[in-house]
């Protein structure tokens, strides 16, 4: 729980004839994190059989085509069943299967698209003719008058002004018969001798003339009637085609789903093999397996290939030269906190996983700032609602449910300690104290708690350096041993001078602070000395002097600011009481306490506090964790553990 799962490096030497069987088992087991071993292949071998990347691409192309077919049939991809991985489908066989089903669906969907296009054209013609419905002249006469040349059609609105500018040198009439948001139905007319100019201008302004098939004869209103009949027929036809596609969708659903899964498996297998190292008669497979499952891994592999050679390399924490995949192993209840840790950074393999600490300190800090029994319980109930996934609209926030429950319960606990129920301080007795009446005390306690947490952070940082055998960092870093001694001696000095009488002169702390401060000041140089780097001083002496001075100054400043930062925990506890009091004052301004409006305002105020202040306190808590606490010991940057599997099993 305090460290990521222990991993073992694995190298498999597999005879070529067993490679597919072994790969299948690796995918089936879902515990093998593959490393790219293709660089181990010699060019000669790659030249003869290195076509696995192309195969993987081909499978991916077929997978995409099946997706498209499913989309055309409005089929959603379903969850992959918990069955063993089947063998890879031969590429030709897969291609044939995809071609066949694609062709069948394409025929129906092409017909549907054509009919929809026809419907669109008919509706377009109708739209253009409707403004002319009142004219009792045959359409032919309207379009080809004796003395005029005219064009009836649709033009994009932005082109209209330009069209008129382009015709300024000839006489013309331009009528906008109907205007929509983007286009207008227009009638352009001029003298017959200018027909060429009118045509060119209309075409270049993208005025699309009305095109009516020969069958549509008569006055505009007669043609409109014909068009409406045709529209109804086309609509019927479209409905029939949709029904056919629905039927096809039901009939082919299982086949398509199964084909998709088989293709995906084939693609994954081909992808995996493409990253194996290939020698003349064998394949080299390299990767990582959780040590706890190594035995199971070996047993299953030996069952599928008698000749497989398995070499394992147990990996001791502390070596930082290899990027080992990181799989966190926290109890389910801590998942929400693990997400918070991963949002900051994924722990490195040799680093302490701070999830457990976060699971304790996050709700505590939140509860201390938001202590109220009623509001805390409401928040916990809201968290439970999120986690239950009962409200579809809140599905996206479900992963936060557990975190909010924990924060809500902690706020409830502190509510009892502060004696606060929905902002009312007269109902419950305060089991500990009322923040508003003990402002200085609660601020002091908050700083004390901060000092404790920061000290824990320092110690964890020192442990991490110890495990990583980074002695320079362990001894000299501002967050290492000398940093901790400096921090504590400064605290001791301040306590001796201002708070308590010590049995020895406080100047002793001053001396320790000076020595540790000098070490911190030269931490970079000492670190280089321990690691054997040269030169010890980078840059000129002047620059070095300024830099070391400011580094010490920055460290001292951060110790102070980080410690004082926790004062906000006490400040928010007080502000919370103050905000609740404001709600009651506002309610009293609106109505007397006997009236229902008073309680409506109180309820609305409480909801506001839960939503608004809850959010702010949440952000402040996160800041204290991420900025003040984590920076002392946690650097992150670990690689995600992504085992080979058809169903992804990686850590979130």
């Amino acid at each position: 729980m305090f460290y990521p799962q222990e991993m073992t490096g694995v190298q498999l030497i597999v005879p070529s004839r067993d490679v597919m069987a072994v790969t299948k088992v690796l995918v089936d087991q879902g515990i093998f994190h593959q490393r790219d071993g293709s660089f181990l292949s010699t060019e000669k071998e790659l030249g003869s059989t290195g076509n696995w990347p192309e195969k993987a691409n081909a499978y991916a192309g077929l997978e995409r085509r099946i997706y498209n077919v499913m989309r055309q049939l409005s089929l959603e991809e379903e969850q992959l069943p918990e069955a063993k991985v089947s063998s890879a489908l031969e590429l030709d066989e897969a291609r044939q299967a995809v071609d066949q089903v694609e062709q069948e669906v394409k025929q129906a969907s092409d017909k549907l698209a054509a009919e929809q296009k026809r419907l669109e054209q008919l509706e377009n013609s109708l739209k253009q003719l409707e403004p002319l419905a009142g004219i009792e002249l045959p359409m032919g006469t309207l379009r080809n008058p004796h003395f005029l040349y005219s064009i009836l059609g649709v033009i994009p609105n932005p082109n209209i002004d330009r069209l008129q500018t382009s015709l300024e040198r000839i006489p013309f009439v331009f009528l906008r018969l109907r205007q929509d948001e983007k286009e207008s139905v227009v009638w352009l007319a001029g003298m017959k001798r200018n027909a060429d100019v009118l045509d060119r201008a209309a075409r270049s302004a993208y005025l699309n003339p009305l095109v009516l098939p020969e069958v549509y004869q008569g006055t505009p209103s007669e043609i409109i009637a014909f068009l409406m009949i045709d529209i109804a027929h086309t609509q019927e036809h479209i409905n029939e085609l949709k029904a056919t596609i629905d039927r096809l969708s039901k009939d082919r659903k299982d086949q398509l789903q199964s084909l998709l899964w088989t293709l995906r498996t084939s693609r994954m297998l081909a992808d995996a093999v493409a990253r194996f190292g290939q020698l003349q008669y064998t394949f080299l497979i390299v990767g990582w397996v959780p040590t706890a499952r190594l035995e199971e891994f070996n047993t299953v592999l030996k069952q599928v290939s008698k000749y497989v050679i398995i070499e394992t390399f147990p990996f001791k924490r502390g070596r930082t030269d290899l990027n080992v995949p990181v799989s966190l192993k926290n109890p389910r209840i801590m998942q929400p906190f693990e997400i918070l840790v991963n949002t900051y950074a994924r722990p490195r393999y040799e680093e302490i996983d701070p999830t457990f600490l976060l699971a304790i300190t996050f709700p505590l800090l939140f509860g201390a700032m938001f202590g109220d029994v009623g509001q805390g319980l409401t928040l916990a109930l809201f968290g439970a609602l999120l986690a239950s996934r009962k409200v579809r609209l809140l599905h996206g926030l479900a992963s936060l449910g557990g975190l909010i429950i924990a924060c809500g319960l902690s706020a409830t606990l502190f509510g009892f300690l502060y004696g606060s129920l929905f902002g009312v301080e007269t109902i419950l007795p305060a089991l500990w104290m009322r923040p508003m009446n003990n402002i200085l005390l609660i601020l002091g306690i908050a700083i004390g708690a901060g000092v404790f947490l920061l000290s824990v952070g320092f110690i964890l940082g020192i442990i991490n350096s110890w495990v990583a055998k980074d002695w320079g960092k362990f001894f000299f870093d501002p967050h290492g041993l000398s940093g901790l001694v400096l921090y504590w001696s400064l605290l001791g000095l301040a306590a001796g001078l201002f708070l308590v009488k010590l049995p020895f002169p406080p100047i002793i702390f001053g001396g320790i602070a000076v020595i540790s401060g000098i070490i911190v000041m030269f931490s970079e140089t000492l670190n280089r000395l321990v690691k054997g780097y040269k030169p010890l001083i980078v840059g000129g002496t002047g620059t070095f002097a300024i830099q070391t001075f400011f580094e010490l100054f920055e460290s001292l400043l951060s110790y102070l600011s980080n410690s004082l930062s926790y004062v906000r925990v006490g400040a928010f506890a007080v502000a919370h009481v103050g905000l609740s009091a404001v709600v009651f004052i506002l309610a009293a301004l609106v109505s007397s306490p006997a009236g229902p409006i008073y309680w409506v305002v109180v309820a609305a105020g409480n909801l506001f506090i839960i939503g608004f202040e809850g959010l702010i306190v949440g952000i402040q808590t996160m800041r204290l964790e991420y900025y003040e606490f984590f920076t002392k010991f946690f650097s992150g940057g670990g690689m995600r553990y992504e085992p080979l599997a058809v169903r992804p099993k990686m850590d979130k």
Binding site: A113, P156, R162, L163, K182, R200, A201, Y206
Partner: protein, 357 residues
Amino acid sequence: MSSGVSGYAAINTRVRAKYASLLTPQDIAAMSEASDYPTLIDHLRHSRYSDYLAMVQEADLSPRRAVFQIKTLMADTYVSVIQASPAHTRDLLDRFYRRFEVDNLKAVLRGILSKAPWDQVRYVLFPFGDQTILPAEAMLESGSVMSAIELLNGTPYYDTLSHAMERYTAEQSLFPLEVALDLFYWRALWNEVGHLPNQDREQALRIIGSLLDMNNLMWAIRYRVYHHLSEEELINYTLPFGYRVRDDDVCSLAGGADIAQLLNRIYPNLHDVDALLHEPRQGLPLLEIQLQHRVADQCRGAFSGYPFTVGLPLAFLVLNEYEIQDLTVLIEAKSSRIPSERFHPYLLNQAEASLLA
């Protein structure tokens, strides 16, 4: 004004730092002296493009791929500039960035007609990454212009293209689609400029208007000289706004006015316009380079004077684009072993250096 200063503080610093990292005319001159394509790439590996070139193995770094990689830096620059700019300017800057998407769209349509495979087309496209709304690969795989345009349903390009499809169907040429796209894009960009507050609008008009001036003039000249289009077509295929070029200028150009006279009146410092128009095949690209010089001057001007406007990021983006244009010329010239006297006039930075000399 104070909100302008505070809003632009971050982007101003960022853009000035990036501006300082642009290649100098001396850098371009040194690169143009490179003996061959590998030497040029070696030069680039020591420039700000090194990380982007390092993403591709040396053996795979074909000229096309090299151009693609250096454009990737420009794409990242656009994204970071847009993100750091004040919220009220982001729509304009994003629209400005979409110029390359319009070019990609045209390239995909041409790819469909020439039946080019995706692997050939992908590196011709501007590397938008996941910022693009074009389903370029699916469009290419659809195999026909009509189906490709149907795939654009829901994007801002769909209405324009589906309306212009009628002409494509009748004429079987991409010309009407491309012109419609250009007109749609520049109108939309101009509208975005109109939405800016006063001081921003003034600076944006200066830079975007200068680009539009150049486009309008080059469109009008090319349509007249190469395509022999009529007056009314020419007017409909150009736009009635810009910075220096008035609609009357475009209309008189369409009506047959003397091109050289008109250009010399608008830009008194242009060189040898008559000679350039006499041999339009070679001359018009050089004329365009001269007009680009005017735009580049406008952009450099934005770096002096009151800096807290959208003019600064716009100017930097244009100058960055011109640098890439120069590098593209160099890469193509060096990989095709074209002698320096033939490609030098097409270099913006280099040409300016020689002009100054």
